[in-house]
């Protein structure tokens, strides 16, 4: 059994599963015809911080495959020194990720940088014919996601976003509304509004770190984990956590290829730079299904609907029939099996884009302090031209999507 496969009905009863699979050499995988020196995927790692390298272990080695790390890249030379000690002398080190992409001997790129770089790196990896493991959140704004989807599909690459697919066990079923409550650490995701510029440390390429985002004065709080608290690099707790919770939600409800049409948030007035406080976000789909992200840490409680934790056996007859009538979703594959079979991985590119779109739409409603309407086909906000400026955010030269 090599599939991370679980029935929708069992899933709704808050079940989870994992699986083990085997690896075969890259040359029989379809796609590129070369034969690697062994039955091992060759990998390049971009971003050597906390998560760097762990994703390759989790998504290739743990399910039974193997890889050889050939290249590691970071804008922080201190991290590269640590990467050298961790991964060994054979790993070539880089401070410019484009040099990793250029290498012709790498099959898989693992991206573990801050999210403002994710889309550009995913696109470039696809253009260079590499399969992609990308940390969550997949992107920093909505249009990036569509550009990644286009690139991955154009080149027939395997893509998987790293998040707790099917393993969170946090879902609660309710026929009309799903409320994700209390898994968003709101208070500690408020950025600082009083950052004073400091000299850039000699070991850090700050310009490259900022990359497509505006070049701000250096401050360590913008870097190394706390980057999550700033709009330029991520987008607070919603951007950091929503993909964990929303990807399985969208999958189980058959929303992998669509998005909500109305989004309303309850939040404090939002700073231009630092992420701030929010209470809840209500997102409605065209069919009436409502998703509520309830931070449960600040502000007025969401009181329009009651959260319910329902086991399949608790459902009334009508709801039970609805669940039974739901078609089974496609099985989810681990990255390494998807590479082998050239099928879509669980958390594949379109699903991942649609999942993180939830976080981005929520943040747009929070940042503008108003309800927005969204066209999931055109992927544009309807009747609010200013809100669309947050759907597509122009990048600093020379970057573009």
């Amino acid at each position: 059994m090599s599939r991370q496969h679980i029935s929708r009905r069992r899933f709704l009863a808050t079940t989870a599963t994992t699986a083990a699979i085997t690896i075969v050499s890259r040359h029989v995988l379809g796609g590129r015809r070369h034969t690697p020196p062994s039955e091992i995927l060759t990998a390049g790692l971009i971003g050597c911080g906390g998560q760097g390298g762990e994703d390759l272990n989790t998504y290739i080695r743990a399910p039974g495959g193997d890889y050889k790390l050939l290249a590691a890249c970071d804008v922080d030379k201190g991290r590269l020194d640590r990467a050298r000690r961790k991964f060994g002398e054979h790993v070539e080190l880089y401070t410019d990720w484009r040099r990793v992409i250029e290498r012709k001997d790498i099959d898989v790129i693992s991206i573990a940088t801050p999210p403002h770089w994710h889309a550009l790196m995913c696109i470039a990896a696809a253009q260079a014919g590499k399969d992609i493991l990308c940390e969550k959140p997949m992107t920093r704004f909505i249009a990036e996601g569509r550009a990644v989807v286009t690139a991955v599909k154009r080149y027939g690459r395997v893509f998987q976003t790293i998040h707790k697919i099917m393993r969170s066990g946090l879902l609660r079923y309710c026929p009309a509304v799903y409320i994700q409550q209390g898994f968003f650490p709101v208070l500690r995701y408020c950025g600082k509004v009083n950052l004073k510029p400091l000299p850039v440390p000699g070991h850090l390429d700050w310009d490259m770190y900022c990359g497509p985002s505006p070049l701000r004065p250096y401050h360590p709080h913008r870097f190394g984990g706390t980057h999550r608290l700033y709009w330029d690099y991520e987008g607070g707790s919603l951007a950091d956590f929503a993909q964990h919770h929303v990807d399985p939600f969208q999958w189980i409800y058959g929303k992998d290829d669509t998005s909500p049409v109305e989004v309303e948030a309850c939040a404090a007035p939002t700073h231009h730079d630092a992420c701030g406080l929010w209470a809840w976000v209500e997102l409605k789909y065209a069919d009436g299904l409502t998703l509520v992200l309830d931070g449960n840490e600040w502000g007025p409680r969401y009181d329009r609907k009651e959260p319910r934790h329902v086991e399949i056996s608790d459902l009334d007859e009508e709801s039970h029939k609805k669940v039974e009538a739901m078609p089974e979703p496609e099985p989810l594959l681990w990255f390494v099996e998807a590479v082998k079979t050239r099928k879509e991985a669980g958390g594949h590119v379109e699903a991942s884009h649609r999942a993180v779109t939830i976080a981005h739409l929520s943040n747009i409603a929070i940042r503008l302090g108003r309800k927005i309407k969204y066209d999931p086909v055109k992927e544009e906000i309807v009747g609010d031209e200013v809100a669309n400026r947050l759907v597509y955010q122009p990048m600093r030269r020379p970057w573009h999507i």
Partner: protein
């Protein structure tokens, strides 16, 4: 018409951040207080904006936390439906303060507020900012967000700038899919800077300029590494856009070329993508 002192007093009513420097300390009373301040500033119109701008300082050179916060909240506030007149006043007032002897960091902050709230009415101000090496890229991004009237300003500035400013402008014209920039894109394919060539290639793809397909293919052919990867992608994107525009024979020529030339193993995925694309031309 509020005086500067009154504006300072209003801004002073915005709550202080907590000891850690964040606004995690806001409760609903404080939220209400902020909203009242913004409503008062909104009533003050142009004078409020000018007063707030006068309170901005270079980062690290003083405390303008509340003034910056207020100016941003006002920018968001005026973009609500029904506030069109206030929005017009706001952006005209901000645009009038972009120049002069204000620190560059303050000028950039103002441009970023225009990126959010600006309209065609102030693109001339941003067009002028394109000529300043430090303001060029933020101004180009602001124009790209505003869109309406942006391409004209970018093209006007293009002939007057060099180096990285030229890259910013070509990049923005490509984002905007500015068909009127077709000549500029073709010319920029021969730019000495590889990033400018890549941006131009992308622009050609985005406007589906069939007349540039041969020169684009040659450009990709002549380069290696990062540039080759990007320019080849532009060739494929151009072909896709030509198919979408009904110019199938032009697209077919691109795909044929790539199938003929990208046969080495590391570019096998290009060959395969071109082969897939070829099927869409039939």
């Amino acid at each position: 018409m509020p005086t500067l002192e009154e504006i300072k007093n209003l801004v002073g009513q915005i709550p202080d951040p907590d000891e850690g420097g964040s606004y995690a300390n806001l409760d609903m009373n404080k939220v209400e207080q902020i909203e009242k301040v913004i409503a008062q500033l909104h009533k003050g119109g142009r004078d409020s904006v000018l007063g707030l701008v006068d309170m901005l300082v270079e980062p690290g050179k003083g405390d303008d936390i509340k003034a910056r916060f207020a100016l941003h909240l006002l920018a968001v506030h005026v973009t609500r439906k029904g506030h069109e007149q206030a929005r017009s006043e706001f952006i005209q007032a901000v645009a009038s303060q972009v120049y002069g002897d204000r620190p560059k960091a303050v000028q950039i902050y103002l441009i970023e507020r225009l990126q959010l709230a600006g309209t065609k009415a102030i693109v001339g101000t941003l067009g002028k900012a394109l000529l300043d090496p430090e303001l060029c890229d933020p101004a180009a991004r602001a124009l790209t967000s505003i869109r309406d009237g942006a391409a004209e300003q970018l093209l006007l500035a293009l002939s007057k700038v060099r180096g990285s400013q030229r890259l910013s402008i070509i990049n923005s014209l490509a984002v905007l899919r500015a068909e009127e920039a077709a000549d500029a894109f073709r010319k920029a394919l021969r730019d000495p800077d590889p990033d400018t060539r890549i941006a131009a290639a992308w622009g050609i793809a985005r406007i589906a300029d069939a007349s540039a397909s041969e020169v684009l293919l040659k450009c990709a052919e002549d380069h290696k590494g990062w540039e080759r990867i990007n320019e080849t992608d532009a060739c494929l994107a151009l072909a896709e856009n030509l198919v979408a525009a009904g110019k199938r024979s032009k697209a077919s020529a691109i795909y044929s070329h790539l199938r003929r030339t990208r046969t080495d193993l590391p570019e096998r995925h290009i060959y395969e993508t071109a082969a897939q694309g070829m099927m869409t031309t039939r």
